[in-house]
Amino acid sequence: MTTFVFATGRYASGDWDSAPLVPPNLIDSVARYTKIDVAPTGVIVDLASTDVFDYPLIYVTGHLPFRFTSAERSRVQTYLDRGGMLFVDDHNHDTGGQFYKTATEELTKTAGRLSDLPNDHELYTCFFKFPDGPPDTSHELNGWGDNLVHKHLEAVTRGNRIEVLYSSKDYSSEWGYHPDTKRFLAVDNTKFGVNIIVYALTR
């Protein structure tokens, strides 16, 4: 069994590196709660390169317009065909914003139409239990962005497998802190991140 390496996707447009603290924070959570053999640092992987095939899960985020180049689109399509999973989080948590508009258009063109993921999907029960679906984020509750508390995540599925998981909840802000800060939290808000990783590795 190989070591799990958390990969952040780099794309040509926009600000792909807007949440640099999310990878170490989730790596820390994976080590805290599971026996998954996880690498201590994440990697940045160019979405147009063949390196993507080394990683079962790729995390993508940003605020600015999100567009694939032709090479990125083709590579991501092959990556998804081969069983990879893309987790795209809108750092704006904003369904009317530039990232949402461009990302959903691009992902539809690349992988297929996004639709609401039912809140009883196994993503919400595969490790920690989230009976009400995706946990709310403080940025949603703050009323920033579109001032909505999103009840569902969106996804492109193939059969019963999630290929692309799209979040408008801004987990990139929610989980964007140094992992050592976690000890001050009454409730660890990265638990859902562990679910995403466990799901990606075992779906």
Partner: protein, 624 residues
Amino acid sequence: MRLGEAIAAVRRVRAALATIIVVQGLLAGAAVGVLVASVRGGEVVAVAVGLLAAAGVVWRSRAVFSLEGAALWVEERDRALQYALVTAVDPRYRGHRAPAYEGALLRRAALRAIGSALGALVLAIGIRTLAITHRGMRFDRARAATAPGRERPVSRLTPLVAHVAPPAYSHVPGRDVREPTSIASLVGTMVTLRGPGDTAGLRASVGARALSVVADGDTHWQAAVSMPATATVVRLSDRGTDRLVVLSPIPDAPPTVELVAPARDSTMRAAHGTVPLVARASDDIGLADGYFEVIVSAGEEETGGVQGHTFTIARTSFHDVRSASLGGGLALDSLRLNPGDVVSIRAVARDGNTVSGPGVGTSDTRTLRVATKEEYDSIAVEGAPPPGADSSYMSQRLIVLATQDLLRRMGRRPPVARDTVVKFARRLGEREQRLKDKVYTLLYGGDQGGGEAMPVAERVLFDTAYHAMNDASMSLAIAEARGALPRELVALAALDSVRKMQHRLYLRGQPPTIVVNTARVRMTGTERPDAGPRTPAVPTDSVSRRLARQLAVIGRLPVVAIGDSLALMQVAAYGVSPALAAALGDAATATRGGQDPTPAMARARRMLAGPVRVDTGRTAWVSP
């Protein structure tokens, strides 16, 4: 002759006659069967008809199987007996003297009956031999007509010539490929296969789709197919003989575009002047046009989200050149940018692909940002906890959501029990009470006095929120959720207004490199998961494994038998790796050309096996 002797003699005659008739019947049946087989019908039909004929012959002569019948048969052939023999064997006339008769009668009868049947059989065999000979001659004539050098070849699938005509936009001239095994060309290329002979019974297909085979003059046929986007195989069939031709599409790569200027992302103090834009583009076939695409993004996520508009500038036609430069300028003044706005610029080029395109290539995106005033003199800023207004707003919003949820549950049928409503509302009231106390602390300080210094306008809003929270908590304490909600919303709106009056500063810089000490934190989490064991995911890409299995199987077969299999594997391999497909194609070509395919097959085998993996002995991970 005595009576006893006469009866014994008639019995011998009867036995002899029975034997003769059976033999005659068998011979006659055989003759009929051979005739039937010669004219039409299979072996089963011929045997059945022959048996029927044999039975008929025996049935026709059934009278001789009785003693009287046998005696009469002798009497008919020897009139001198004057019915003495019949009378002798008749029980009514026993005691009379039995006449003598000649055994030569039997020999003549046997000769006549068996001889005629034997003659019929010989005649039938003769006819049968003639029929077979005639068919053989027809078959030989047909073979001779299709032999090389004659008017019709043995197979109309050879010699085969493919005319390959790439799409017009590529400006590549057409070419002929003789005896093609695999044809590689641009998507949309028209491939015309041409061979000798007429079109009768000739079939061509691509997958399940039949191709139209038409006559090319009086002496040749042809079938045309357009090069598809994915590799496939053309199957030509002629009288049970197949021939495969692999179509290997060469995709038209989209243009490659490099944005030369601006060279890097920038932050501007003021958005004035013109930004020079320069890009280089190249394409494997030819460029059609290019332009710069600009997106102006404005706003912040806290204040209504990031909005923007897109436009293009400096659109230029390239007239099918393979490489070109694109230039222009972006007048910033015309954009009327405000502090915090972001301009995203990229260059776009399109090729002239009119078949599956146009292919669109894009450069990296550069961003130009207009700085906000707060950024001018900031060098290092320590992270601070969230402002009091922020955390209060979040908590108040949670209370509002919970109250709305409680009201929804109360409105359902059947309604939630009153005790539950009271318990839930009181819990919410306690939370509202605690939040109200926090706001009070912000305003007036704690036991030691104090309180935050804040502008009067903010203080007024906090005060409004405080009183609204107080009203809401009292309503919730008596389970009046409907009365509490409006006051909760007033508090929420007041806190939101406070937040909007406060200024925030966001800085981006080099993020720290964090190496997680996974060994130290391993399994120290305080939260408890609730899940059973799960099995690791397997890649869905099974084509490689299937090809590896197939390659292992055909590696054990004779070389002459694996050409078509390798061609089909080549088509499947295009979805995995073009290099693997090329190796399998080389193996197929070598096989068809009578050469050794082993090196190419070994190359394919190595590609399928992948890099050598070393087992590190690590324990497989499992969920707790």
